[in-house]
Symmetry: C5
C-alpha cells in the first residue's frame, strides 16, 4: 500500500490557487507564502522526511507506524497531530484505515492509508473557489477535512440500515441459521463502526478544550460542531444497535414460539388418541367369551361395535371441546 | 415543508403590543425598539437572510440544515442558539421535528419545522397581557418557549401510559404475536422519546453554567427549572421503560407457564394410559391357551375380564393419587 | 387536599416558646423576634401569600404547583428552597407526597401535602425543651426536619423487608402465579422508593457544597450527616433489590426444575413401557400358525406365555437399572 | 454487647511505654504528655463522656449510635472521625460490626463493637518496640489501625475462595437444589463483603484529599497505600463475583444439558419403536382372510412371520443408522 | 524465586557505556556520573538496601512485598515508584508477576519477579547505540521500559485470538462439554488480562497529570503515548471479550436449535403414526362379527384390508402435506 506514496500540494490564497504533484516533501516548503498549504500524501510514508522538514514530533510518527493505533489527538509544541480512521466496505465486510492529519502554521498535512475520494468535494470547492475556504486560514481547512471524514460514516450507516430492513422481513419468514448468522454479522459491523468512532468523541472534546490556541476565535465554534457531528453519528449507531438487538430477540422468540406451538398442538393431538387407542386395546383382548358371561360380553352385543365407535367419537369431541375451552388448541 | 415559511412578529413592551405577519426578514428590525421582539418562522427557511440580518453564526445554520441534527446549544459571541426537537404522533408512530431558537439582544427568533400549536398559550398570554411576559425581557420569553416545548412531551407520555395500561390487560389474556409486537412498539416509542429528550439535559446544564451572561440574574433561577423539568420527564420515561420491560417479562412468563402447564398435564395424562394400554396388549396376545395350561390361563377364567378392568382402574387411580400427592396435577 | 390548609406557628428562643394556629400568613411575621420561627402549613396553598410575605421566588412556587415535581434544591438569593417527598402506605400500595421547605433568615416554612406525624417528635422536643433545638438557630431546625423526613423511610423499608421474608418461604412452597405477582409488586415498591429517594443524594450533595452560606459553621457538619443518612437508606434499598431479584431467580428456577423433573421421570417411565408394548404387539399379530411352522411357533410353545412375561420383566428391570446408573431417575 | 465497655490506654513515646486499663474516660487525659496515646474502648459506650472529655462532635456520636450506619469519614474542626466495619464469620454466615476511630492531637481513640484481636499485632509491636510505631506520631498509628482492619478482610475472602473451590467440584457432580442454594449463599456473602468495603474507597479517597492537614508529610504517602489496599481487596472480590456467576452458569447449563440429553435419547428410542408397533398393529387386525384373497394374505404366507420380524429389524437398524448419521444419538 | 536476586548495571552517557553485574546495591552509586544509570534487579530482594541506598519510601517497599498488590504509581518526594504486572503463559494458563520501577535523578531501578526477556531489545539498543536512548535522560528510559512492558501484552492477546479462531470452528461442529469448558477458559484468560491491564490506565493518566515534574518537556509527550498504548490494548481485549461472548451465544443457540430440531421432527413423525396405530387398533378388536351385522362388517368385506391400508396411507400423506405446508418439517 505504501509502495509509492504520492504527494500532492494544494496551495491557495484568497486570489491564488496552485495544485501540483511533487516528488520530495521539502518542495512543499516552497509554497509557504500561500495563505494555506495543504500537503496530501496518499499512502503511509515519508515519515522521516516529515520529522526533518516539518519538525513533527517523534510520538506522532510512532503512532502512525503502529497499524492498530487508536484515534488520537496530540497537541504538540507548535503543531497539532490528529489520527483517525476511515471505514469502507470491502467484500461485504468493513475495513478501517488510518488517516493522519497535521496542522502547523499555515500547513495542513494529511496522510491517508487509502487514497479514497473523501476529500474530493473539498478539493473541488477550493479549485472553484466555492464555500468559505479561500477566505479562511488553515484551521478552517482542518475543520473541513475532519468534518468530511466524519460525514463519510453516514453512507456506511445507511447501508447497514437498509440491510437491517431486509433482515427484518427475513426474520419473520425464514428461520434458518443463515438469518441468525446475518444478524450477528450486522451486529458485528455496528460494533466495529462504533468502536472506530467512539474515540473521536474524546479527540474532539479535547480539541475543543485544549487545542484552542491553534484556532482563530471565529473557527472555534466549528470545533463544537465536530463534536456534535460525532454525537449524531453515535446516536444513529446506538439506535441501530437497539434495532439489531431487537432483531435477535424477535428471531429467538419466533423460533421458540414456533417450536412451542408445534409441540403444543402435536401433544394435544396425541393426547386425544391415547384413550381411544386404549379402548381399541381393551376390545382387542382375547378373553374367552365362552368361558364366562362376564368375559367381554360387549363383543357379542348386537350394537357393540357401533356403540364403541360412537363412544370413541364422543370422547374425542369431548377432549377437543375441553382443549378448546382451555385455549390449548 | 419549507415551501413558504411564514414569518410572524410578536413585539411587545410593558404597555405596547404588536403582532404582524411580514414577508422579509429584515422588516423584523423595524420593531427593535420594543422591549422584546419574537420572530417566529414556521418552516425551515430564510437561512441566508438570518445570517445577513442577525449575523447568526454559520455553525448554527449548518446545524439547522442537517435533518438528523441532535439537540444542541451554541453559545456564540453575541447570541445564543438552541436546537431541540418536538415530538408528535403521526399515524400511530412518533415523529420528531426540529425547532431552532435564537436569542440576540431583545430578539428571540424561533424556527419550527412544523407549525404546531405548542406556543399558542404563550401567544395568548402576551396578547392579553397575562403572566409575567410583558414585564420581563427576552431572556424570560426564551425560558417560556423552552419550557413550553418540554411541557409538550407530557401528553405524549400520558398517551404512552394509557396504551400501556390497555396492553397490561391484554397481556394476561391474549398471548398472540400481535401483543408482543405491540409491546415492542411501545418500547420503541419510549426509547425514541428518551433519545430525543436526553440531549436536552446536557443543553440545559450548559445553559445554566455557561450561558449565564445572556440571562438577567432574576431569570437565571428559571434555567435550573428547565433542567429539573427535563429530569421529571426523564423520570416518567424511566418508569415507563421499567413498566414496558415488566410487560415483556410477564408476556414471556405467561407464555412459558402456559406451555409448561399444557405439556405437564398432557404428559401426566398420557403416562397414566401407558401401563393400561400395555395390559390390554398383554391380553391381546394370541398365545395358544389350548397348547399349554401356562399359556394365558387368565383368558379362560370366569372373572378374568372384570378383574382385569378393575386392576386397570386401580392402577389409574393409584397413579392419579401419586401425581396429585407430588403436585404434578 | 388543599381545601383548608392550616398554618401553625412554632416560635422559640432559648427561654421562650409559643405555638399558635394562625389564619393569615402575614401574621407569621409578628413572631420574627423569636430566635427561630417555624411556620408549618398542612396542605398545599397560600402560594401567592408566600410570594408576597416572604418574597419567595416564583420558581419555587412553580415547582410546588407541579404535582409530579422531583425532589430539588434551589439556592435563591436570600432563601433556600427544598422540595422532597414523603412516602406512605395506602391500601397496600405506596404513595408519595410533596413536602416543601423554605429557610429564610430565622424562618423555616414547611408545607406538606399530607399532614402526617413525621415532625411530631421534633415538635415535642421543642415544646419540652429537649435536644439541642432551643440552643440552635433555624439552620439546625432545617437539618432536623430533613433528617426526620429521611428517617421516616426506614419503617417503610422494614415493612418491605418483612413482606419479603414471608415471600421467601412462599416461593419455595407455592408456585402459582399469585406468588410471582407478589414478587413483582415488591420489586415495583422497591423501585418506587428508590426513585423517590435517589434525587435526594443530589439535593444534599449540593446543599453541602453550595448551600454553605445558609448554615453556621457548627451546623455544616450535619449536612454531611444528611447525605450519609440517604446513602444508608439507599444501601438498604439496594440490598433489598438484590434480594428481590434473587427471589425471582429462585421462583423461576424452582418452576423450571419442577417441570424438568416431571417431564424427565414421566419420559423415562413411558420409555420403559414402549418396548414392552411392542412385544405384546408382536404376539398379538394374527399370523396363521397352521399355515407354516415359521409363523409364530412361540404361540404354541408350552411355556410361551410365562417366558414372554419374564422376558418383558427382564427388559423392564434392565432399563430401570440403566436409567438408575445414568442417574436419570 | 455494650454492657461494660472496657477502656485500655496504650501510651508511648520513643523510650517510654505504658499500658493500663482505666475506669473513667477522663483519666486518659493524664497520659497526654506521651508522644501517642491510644485509647481503646471495647464495646459501644462512654459516648457522652467522649463529647465532654475530647470535645468530639455531636455528628460523630450520632453516627456511632445508629446501628446501620455506613462507613464514613468526618473531617471535623480539630479532629478526624472514621467509622468503618469489621466482618467476621458467625455460624456459617457473615456479620459486620462497627469500629469508630478518632484522631485528635496525639490521641487516637478506637471504639469497637466487638472486642476482636484485629489490633493485637499492633499492640505487640508497640509493646516490644517493633516496627516504626514508637518513632512516629499518632497519625501513623491511625494508618496502622486502618490498615489492620482492611487486612483483616483477607482471611474472610480466602475462606470464601476455598468454599468456592469445593463447590466447583460439587457442581459438576451433584445437581440437587442444595448445591444451588450453596452457590446463592456464597454469592450473598460476596455481595455482603463488597457492600461493606465499597464505601471505604470513598472514605480513603477523601482522607487523602481533604484530610491532609491531620497527617505529617511523611505519613501522607501511607494514605494512598490504604486506598490501594482497599482496591486490591475489591479486585479479589470482583474476581470472586465473576467466579460465582460462572458457577451459576455452569450449574444451569449442566442441568439443562442433562435434561436435553435424556429427552433427546428417550425421544429417539421411542421414535424407533413407533413404526414397529404400527406394523404389529397391522398384523393384529382381524380382517377375515377367508372372506377374500385380498384380506391380509400375508398371515397365511409360509414365511410371513419371519419376514415381518426381519422387516421390523431392518426398519429399526435403518432408523438407528439415520439417527447416528444425524448425530442425534 | 528471590533466592539470589541478580543486580545488573547499565550505565551510559552519549559516548560511554558500561554494563556490569554487581553484588551489592551500593556499588550502583559509583556509576552516578553517567547520564543514565539503569539498575536492573532480577528477583524480588534487596528491599532494605533500596531504602538505605536510594532513600526509597517505606510505602513502595511495602507494596512490593505484598504479593497480590495492584498496579500503582506513587509520586514520592524525590522519586517515582511504579508497580505493574507482566503476564506470561505457563502450562496453558496465564500467570502475572510484579515489576517495580523507580525513577530517581538519573537512576532507573527495575525489579522483576521473573527475569524475562521483555527488556532485551532495549538493552540491545543501548549497547549498540541504536534509537534515541543515549541522547536522552533517565525519563526517556523509564518511558521505554514501560512501553516495552505494555507492548509485551500484544503476543499474549494474539495467542488468545488464534485460540479463539480455532474454537470458532469447533463450536459449529462439536457440541460437547469440552468445547464449552474451553470457551469459559478463554473468557477467564481475557478477563485476567483485562484486570491486570486496567489499573494501568489510571497509573498512566496520573503519571501524565501529576508526574510531570519528573519528565523533561520533550519527554512529556511520550506519557500520553503510554496511555494511548494501554487504550489500544484494552480495545483489543474488549473486542475479544465481545467475540468470546458471541462464541458462548452461538454455542448455546447451536445446542438448543439442534435439540429443538430433533424434538420437532421426532414429534411430527410420532404424530403421524398415532392415528394409523389407532386404526389398526380398531380392526384388532374382537367384536363378534357373527353376532350382529353391525359388528365390524369391514372385516368380512372383499377389499377391507387393502382399503384400510390405502386409507392409512392417505392419512399419512395428508398429515405430511399439512406439516410441510405449516413448515413443521
Amino acid at each position: 500500500m505504501n509502495e509509492t506514496p504520492e504527494i500532492t500540494i494544494f496551495a491557495y490564497s484568497e486570489d491564488k490557487f496552485e495544485e501540483k504533484r511533487i516528488k520530495k516533501l521539502e518542495e512543499a516548503l516552497d509554497y509557504k507564502d500561500y495563505r494555506v498549504v495543504w500537503v496530501n500524501i496518499d499512502g503511509i510514508g515519508y515519515l522521516e522526511e516529515l520529522k526533518d522538514t516539518f519538525k513533527v514530533h517523534d510520538v506522532a510518527v510512532k503512532a502512525i507506524k503502529r497499524t492498530k493505533s487508536r484515534a488520537r489527538l496530540a497537541i504538540l509544541k507548535d503543531h497539532l497531530f490528529i489520527l483517525l480512521h476511515q471505514v469502507y466496505e470491502l467484500k461485504g465486510g468493513l475495513k478501517k484505515e488510518r488517516t493522519a492529519i497535521f496542522l502547523k502554521d499555515n500547513f495542513v498535512i494529511t496522510m491517508q492509508e487509502r487514497s479514497g475520494d473523501v476529500f474530493n468535494s473539498i478539493r473541488e470547492s477550493i479549485r472553484h473557489n466555492e464555500g468559505l475556504f479561500r477566505g479562511k486560514d488553515a484551521d478552517y481547512l482542518l475543520y473541513a477535512l475532519l468534518d468530511a471524514i466524519i460525514g463519510n460514516y453516514v453512507p456506511i450507516l445507511e447501508n447497514i440500515s437498509s440491510q437491517m430492513e431486509i433482515l427484518e422481513n427475513k426474520v419473520l419468514k425464514d428461520r434458518d441459521k443463515e438469518t441468525l448468522r446475518e444478524i450477528h454479522g450486522i451486529r458485528r459491523r455496528i460494533l466495529f463502526v462504533r468502536r472506530t468512532i467512539f474515540p473521536l468523541l474524546e479527540v474532539f472534546r479535547r480539541l475543543r478544550l485544549e487545542g484552542k490556541e491553534f484556532f482563530k476565535e471565529e473557527t472555534q465554534e466549528y470545533l463544537e460542531e465536530l463534536y456534535n457531528h460525532v454525537m449524531e453519528i453515535l446516536d444513529i449507531i446506538e439506535s441501530q444497535r437497539d434495532m439489531a438487538n431487537g432483531l435477535v430477540e424477535i428471531y429467538y422468540s419466533t423460533i421458540s414460539m414456533r417450536t412451542n406451538e408445534i409441540i403444543r398442538i402435536l401433544t394435544v393431538v396425541s393426547t386425544i388418541f391415547i384413550p381411544l387407542t386404549f379402548i381399541t386395546g381393551i376390545y382387542g383382548m382375547n378373553f374367552n367369551t365362552t368361558a364366562s358371561p362376564y368375559n367381554m360380553p360387549e363383543l357379542n352385543w348386537y350394537y357393540g361395535y357401533p356403540v364403541t365407535l360412537l363412544a370413541m367419537l364422543a370422547i374425542a369431541l369431548g377432549m377437543l371441546y375441553y382443549f378448546k375451552k382451555k385455549e390449548w388448541l
